[in-house]
Structures are given as C-alpha cells and as structure tokens.
Amino acid sequence: MSILVRNATRRFGDFTALDDVSVEIPSGSLTALLGPSGSGKSTLLRVIAGLERPDGGSVEIDGRDATRLPPQRRGVGFVFQHYAAFKHMTVRENVAFGLKVARRPKAEIKARVSELLELVQLPGLADRYPAQLSGGQRQRMALARSLAVQPSVLLLDEPFGALDARVRKELRAWLRHLHDEVHVTTVFVTHDQEEAMEVADRIVVMNHGRVEQVGGPRDLYEHPANAFVMGFVGPVTRLGEFFVRPHDVEVRRQPNGTTSEAMVERLVHLGFEVRAELVLHDGQHVWAQLSREDAEELELAQGQIVFVRPSRTRQFAEVPAG
C-alpha cells in the first residue's frame, strides 16, 4: 500500500507547518520522516493519517484519493508518542477496541488479540491496566492495538520519544524486526538521526515545512543534497568554502602543497577517538576527528602547527541559513 502526498500545505495562523510538500512512500517500505522540531514531520504524518486536513494538496493511499476521508476510513494505524492508551480499559480491551468497533465476532476478536499479544511479547499482561505497565510495554500494546485492524499503513509519531535510552534502543531493533515479519508500509517520525539511520530503509529529511532530501541512510550520509542535510545527518565542519566530515579532515605534520596551515587549539579525548579543534590562519575554526592511533602517530599536542586538507568534500552553492 503506497502513499502519495502531493503539494500538501498546512498553515497554523502565521506559521507554515507544511509548504508544498510532495512525498512518495513505496509499498512495504519502512520510511523515516526526519527533521528538527517545527520541521513539519509530525504534521505530514498526521495529514497522511487524516488527523489534520491540509489547506492545499492531496493524499493518495494505494491509488485512492484519501484527502477527504476521515481517519476511521483510511485504514491507517497510528501510534502516538505518549501511547494514548485507553486508561479505563485492560490491555486486552485496548487491543480489541478496533475489532469491537468493526463488530467482528467474539471468537475472532479473542483469537486475534491473543495472536497479537504474542507478537508483541505481552501475553501474560492481557488483564492488566495500562497504568500497571512500563512505558515500553504500553507502546508495544499500542502497536498491537493498531495492528489489530490490519491497517494498510502503519504510522508512528516519535514512538520511542517518551522512553528512556536503553528501552529506546531495544524497541528500535524490535520495530525493524517486526517490520521484517509483518511487511506493512510503515512511516515513523523522529528527530533522532541515529534512530532514522538505524531503522529505516528510506529517510525523508524535512526542514521548515519542506522536504530537503529523500534517500537511503547511506545515500544521505555520503551524498547530501545541501548543507542542512549534511549537518543534520552527521557531523560536519567547514574548511574554507567546503563542507567536510570531521573524519574526512586529513591532518599532516608536513605541508604538501594542497594543505592549509592550522594550529591545534584543543584536543578532546573521547575514548577511542580524538577530536582536534583547529584554527586556520584566517581565524576559521575547523575540527577533525581522528582515531587514537592516528593522533598518537602524529604526536598531536596543544599549540602545535599542523597541515590539513579535506580528503573528501562537498561544496554547496549557497551558504546555508540556519
């Protein structure tokens, strides 16, 4: 079930959350909408779900125009950052909710709920209330609940944002694994580029209500379309007019014609890596990331003069704004 968003625009008063956004989400993929707060990623997700109506543009789900359809008729599952658990119902009743609304027979509901609870690894907790579950368990319940009605599309809005770091990592892997098993077209929103890179097949990078770039994790990292994407998806530093990844900054003890002179201002030891904060003749600050061995080999020390050049660069036409 593919999704096609065409020229979606959404404004809240003076604030433009979506600015002529067009995005295609292939069937069966696991796509991340990545961007900083205010980039419009949650709004885009909600427009796909039907929880927001765009001021302009259209949404197509599996070839059908869904722009006018309310959420309950789009066949989308939605998982919220803060779980949206039905507090007054047990886990079992939560998961069964969509099926009850659809008036499925009792036996079918019972079987499906058990099946799902097994899938999300919550079988023993069926009769507990959400308040008695941990955050991670609540989110897995919410997932089971969404999957119960067999949605053609699964949408997750910062699903792990409210969980602590360890649980977050566990659930990321678990989501990937679930997708590999269930193969539902899945879109999730995150502001964490590590999460997007780790989990998704495709990433849609957004900023200020616009799509900056769409591609696979490696694609975005190695061929960013502009400075914003480059900076968002990985660390970046500037050398002259070039944008460079810190670990693509070559540091030498001797000049070789293509290098620039720089002084080591500060060395930060980060475990197995060393970050060297350098300053060029013209005052520009650059930083390089080296392995511990390389740094030792070069005998780097504060105040030392070294020579740097980028081993791989990206150059962009305009200076990026924010």
């Binding site: 309310p70 309950q72 803060h82 949206a84 969509g98 609304v101 969404s146 119960a148």
Partner: protein
Amino acid sequence: MAASTLTRRRVGTGARGGAALLRGTVTLYLSLIVVLPLTAVVWRSGRDGWGAFWEAATQPQALAALRLTFAVALVVAAGNVVMGTVIAWVLVRDEFPGKRVVNALIDLPFALPTIVAGITLLALYGSSSPVGINIGYTRAGVVLALAFVTLPFVVRSVQPVLLTMEPDMEEAARCLGAGPVTSFRRIVLPTIAPALLAGAALAFARAVGEFGSVVILSGNIPYRTEVASVHVFSLVENDDVGSAAAVSVVLLVTSVLVLAGLNLLQRRRTSHAD
C-alpha cells in the same frame, strides 16, 4: 514539606499549644453554628418518640411533598447529566465569539439570589409571560426553578476533566475506526463518568433543599406543587416544630447520604488512580 528537625524542635511546644488552640477555636465555631443546631433538629424530631416521628414524617401532605421533591430532584439531576455534559463539551471543544462570556454566565445561578431567580423565571414563564408559556403554579415550574439553580454543578464538574483530557486517546480511537459518537461513548464518557456522577449528586442534593426559587415559581399548592422545604416552612410558621423537625430529618438524612456517597466515590477513585 520537609524541614529540618531543628526548626521543628525550636518552635516545638509553643506551636503545638497554638495549634491545639486553633483547632479548639475552629471546633467551637463549627459546633455553635453548625453542629449544635443540627443536633437540635435531630433531637427534636425524636423527642416525642419514634411513633410521633413516623406519624409526622408520613403525614399525607408531608409525604406528597417529599415524593415530589425527590422525584423532581432526580429528573433535574438526570437532565443536568445530559445538558451539563453538552454545555461543558461545547465550552471546552468548540470556539465561537462570546464564548468567554457564556462561560462566565454559567456561574450566574451561584451568584444570583434564589428568590431573584424565581422572580426572573416567573417574569418569562409565568402568567404574564411575553412568550405565552405559563408554568407558574405547576410542577413544570418546580422543574424549571431547580434546573436553573443546579445548572452549574455538572458543567463545572465535567469541564476540568474535559480540559485536561489529551486528544490522543480520541484520535487513537478514530484511527481504529471509531466515529465521533462511538469515540464519545467509549472513550470520553468513561473518562468523565466520575466527575459526571459527582456533579449530578451535588445537583441532586441542592435540588432537594432548594427553597427561594421554588417558593415563587411553584405557587406552593399542597399535594401538587409543594416541595418538602416549603412544607417544612409552613409547619414552622404554624408552630408545628415537631413535625417540621421530623420532615427536616428526612431531608437531612438524604443530604448526608448523598454527601457520604460522594466522599466514598472520590476516595475510591484516588486509591486506584494512575
């Protein structure tokens, strides 16, 4: 509220004595003004024995008044459950010009003297009604008066719950296929149910005791539109203090039961809350 034990000890016995004095004064104030008089009513109702009490409380006119009072109070409480929820919903979820003013006006029955409420309603719905509706001297008049004075209870009870409800749950229900009515029935209603009940109970208790507005609007026709409070009043006027006390005790017991029930409900809610 933790503070160093040093400060506690320093202020120690002086404060404790002061605290006891404060407690004593508060208790004395309450006793002289509330407890003693209420005890007197209970005592007086039973002074001449259980038989006399029973006779007074079941005297036909008294019974008629009590029956009418409870019936109308129940009807009004039920009506408030519906209309109060609708009004609270509109005030929380809807936007329209003048909403702030409407919200403030809900408190009008709290602020307006009951007798003025009666006069006001009679002006519009009484014998010289400009819209041709005359329910003065009828049971409908009693209902109207009570609907007026109990209006704020359910609204103000439900409003805060609706205000602090996250839209997430309802949105989740929508994505699971529930339409707006189903979503209200299965998600919103269970969430506001305790507040609804509390508001309805308060409205009921208030309606049972209401006097000022009913006195004007109902005409106080015995056996037809005379409510319990008016009946007690006429008994007192006729110096039949014993009977007045007996009927009062029936009203008192009802109120206390309602209050106690509410208290219990709230205690149970906070014990297995999130």
